[in-house]
């Protein structure tokens, strides 16, 4: 195991920010951290980075207490920030130097990321002159320039337009392919579902759900049956005592298992109801989040 969090607890004067947190993240995998504002995500990230000392518990990396001096971190904070009156190149060089990179490595790293994120025209600009999206890309370069092993991305997609969001998605895919260990905190469930093999959901400092995303979905307790039909299915589904939602001619019913889902469809077919299509789906992360955390 690469990252192990054991009985992590952080208490401030009036509140418990993180309460007895336990989790493991194998090397080269991505952990999606979910929770509403104030759930304890940022405090957990800051404890991972060594910026906040836990009240009790421990964080281990490769079996040893986590130490910023021994691990190469890359941290993209939720609040974006650069020195507004300094040229972006100078800032990136500064960040690279602080990570102990050689001048040559800094220059080649900057060139690579500027090409990759299409930022070459902004080399000599002051950070204050950049748009929000470009500032964010610049900050992402600062996060990844030193090729860190452990990457923490806090709301990386906020403020990005669809083109830049796609560009960031491809960067994250590449990081995953490069076997980087990543913790991704986001409110955007589709991004978490896309990249994260593991998820942890937090509520009021406690983990309410954690594990492999596919296992969570598989064992969550119900499946969604999506049925499309021009006929009114309401009486039939009521007769089967199935809870459902209707949007136009699409019916989404919740059933306990895949077998039960197939039984519902089979029943409708036996009644000679014309179905335009159907599918059995696992519950979405969004649904799970609303039910467990909302």
């Amino acid at each position: 195991m690469t990252l192990q969090i054991k009985h992590l607890h952080k208490e401030y004067k009036d509140i418990t920010a993180v309460n007895d947190m336990n989790l493991e993240l194998p090397k080269g995998q991505v952990l999606g951290m979910l929770g509403r504002n104030g759930a304890g995500k940022t405090t957990t990230l800051k404890m991972l980075l060594g910026l906040v000392q836990p009240t009790s518990g421990e964080i281990r990396w490769d079996g040893k207490p986590i130490d910023r001096r021994e691990i190469s971190f890359g941290y993209l904070p939720e609040e974006r920030g650069l020195y507004p009156k300094i040229k972006v190149m100078d800032q990136l060089r500064y960040f690279g130097q602080l990570e102990g990179m050689s001048k040559k490595a800094i220059e080649s790293g900057i060139n690579y990321w500027f090409d990759r994120l299409e930022m070459n025209e902004y080399r000599d600009k002051m950070a204050g002159e950049l748009s929000k999206g470009n500032s964010q890309k610049m900050q992402l370069i600062g996060t990844l320039l030193h090729d860190p092993d452990f990457i923490i991305l806090d709301e990386p997609f906020s403020g990005l337009d669809p083109v830049n969001a796609e560009m960031l998605s491809s960067v994250i895919e590449q990081l995953i392919a490069d076997n980087k260990t990543i913790v991704l905190s986001s409110h955007r469930m589709e991004q978490i579902e896309l990249f994260c093999e593991n998820v942890v959901m937090m509520k009021q400092g406690r983990i309410v759900l954690s594990g492999k995303l596919n296992e969570i979905k598989e064992n969550y307790g119900y499946k969604n049956v999506r049925i499309e039909s021009d006929q009114d299915l309401t009486p039939w589904l009521n007769r089967l005592q199935v809870a459902f939602e209707q949007k136009n001619n699409v019916y989404t019913a919740q059933v306990r298992s895949a077998e039960r889902a197939l039984a519902v469809i089979s029943h409708l077919e036996q009644q000679n109801i014309a179905l335009r299509g159907f599918s059995v789906q696992e519950p979405s992360l969004h649904q799970i989040f609303i039910e467990r955390v909302g």
Binding site: R80, Y94, L98, E99, Q139
Partner: protein, 403 residues
């Protein structure tokens, strides 16, 4: 490179690149050179213009002889009809004084001296002495006193002046105290602004993952200190340039206070640097810690106001030192670390600070910096991660207690 030096180099480069630094460097250099150049080229050689009306038949001045002998005044004889116009000239600043020589019914000479705001007692003393001599001659003749006795009576008593206090250093005390106040305030606030700027722009969020907060704080404090020392070096360069040009002469003054540049020795300059470094360090770590807790630039003044008050108090005490360098207040203040850099240095310029006092005060300030750094380190470390709507000075106290 060590993270400390990387941060130091980055902020030092930014200080040197800043417009404020460049403008100040040029202004300081030109001010110093300009001061000496002005003193050299615009020396006031004009003599006092004093109008003389003689209404006594017995007592008259040898105006031509006095004018030839005097380097400081020109006597201009006037008629009775010109008296009012001459007084008007004095009032308007076109002449420096009007003297009317008269005589009482007993034969005693009288002098009436009219001036604009301040009398020139040296000039009037010359006229007074002339008349006194004539009066003594008149009396010795009248009373038939022997000529050698009369000569003995006219003998002048030489006065050897010796100032026990260095009054010729007043201008220097003022200049150095102001310089130290200016630089400590300016560069202390520069540190505070830099830290507040990093927090407001949220760069701090990135920086604290790359370098330890205290490393960052001390690197910034020292970078600003080096920038401040560079400005002092520029002031010194201005002085050396003026000296090389031969413009540094005698009779210099600032705001009417004499400046004796012969006092500016290597030792004095070295202590200026030492007290600046210590004073700046003491205040800069406090500026750094206090500014670390704010989330908005607008809160800067309310949080750092107590430091500004302390600095103003130190400056006022240094001014007090010019009037009475050995007063109880000044002596006590020279041993209080917050006031010591300016007050003890002012006492040194006035020639009143002993070597023991210099050793004790520098050790005291260094110890105060060491003790305060224990608190400021913790305050800064927790402050840089604190974000809140509004910050007041009471929050500094609260956080200090928690730290």
């Amino acid at each position: 490179m060590n993270p400390f030096f990387t941060v130091l180099q980055f902020h030092l480069k930014e200080s040197y690149r800043s417009k404020a630094f460049k403008i100040m460097a040029v202004v300081m250099f030109l001010l110093v050179v300009g001061f000496f150049a002005a003193a050299h080229f615009m020396k006031d050689d004009s003599k006092l213009d004093i109008k003389i009306l003689t209404e006594s038949s017995e007592y008259t001045l040898d105006i031509d002889r006095i004018n030839k002998q005097s380097e400081t005044m020109d006597l201009v004889p006037i008629e009775r009809t010109e008296l009012d116009a001459s007084k008007e000239e004095v009032k308007n600043g076109d002449a420096d004084g009007v003297v009317v020589i008269g005589q009482t019914s007993e034969g005693l000479p009288t002098l009436a001296y009219s001036y604009s705001q301040f009398p020139d007692l040296d000039a009037i003393a010359v006229i007074q002495n002339e008349l006194k001599s004539q009066y003594i001659v008149h009396v010795t003749k009248e009373k038939s006193i022997a000529p050698d006795a009369a000569e003995a009576l006219l003998a002048q008593i030489d006065v050897h002046e010796e100032s026990l206090n260095r009054t010729n250093a007043l201008g220097l005390v003022y200049f150095f105290a102001f310089l130290m106040y200016l630089f400590i305030t300016l560069y202390g606030q520069m540190v505070a602004l830099s830290i507040a700027g990093e927090k407001v722009s949220r760069v701090m969020e990135i920086m604290i993952t790359k370098v330890k907060p205290t490393t960052m704080m001390y690197a910034k404090v020292i970078a600003s200190m080096i920038a401040g020392l560079t400005q002092i070096a520029i002031v010194a360069a201005g002085y050396l340039t003026a000296r090389a040009m031969g413009w540094v002469g005698e009779d210099l003054s600032i705001m009417g206070m004499p400046i004796d540049v012969s006092i500016v020795t290597v030792k004095l300059f070295a202590f200026l640097v030492v007290y600046f470094i210590l004073g700046y360090s003491l205040y800069a770590i406090l500026y750094a810690a206090m500014s670390s807790i704010i989330s908005r630039i607008e809160d800067m003044n309310s949080v750092t106001a107590p430091l500004s008050v302390l600095l103003i108090a130190a400056f006022i005490l240094a001014m007090q030192c010019m009037v009475d360098p050995n007063s109880t207040t000044v002596v006590i203040a020279s041993y209080i670390p917050f006031f010591s850099p300016m007050v003890t240095f002012s006492r040194l310029v006035m020639g009143e600070a002993s070597t023991m006092e210099l050793i004790i005060t520098t050790a005291e300030i260094a110890a105060a910096i060491g003790l305060l750094s224990l608190v400021t380190n913790r305050l800064y470390t927790s402050g840089v991660m604190r974000y809140s709507e509004k910050t007041k000075f009471s929050d500094v106290i609260k956080l200090t207690r928690e730290a």
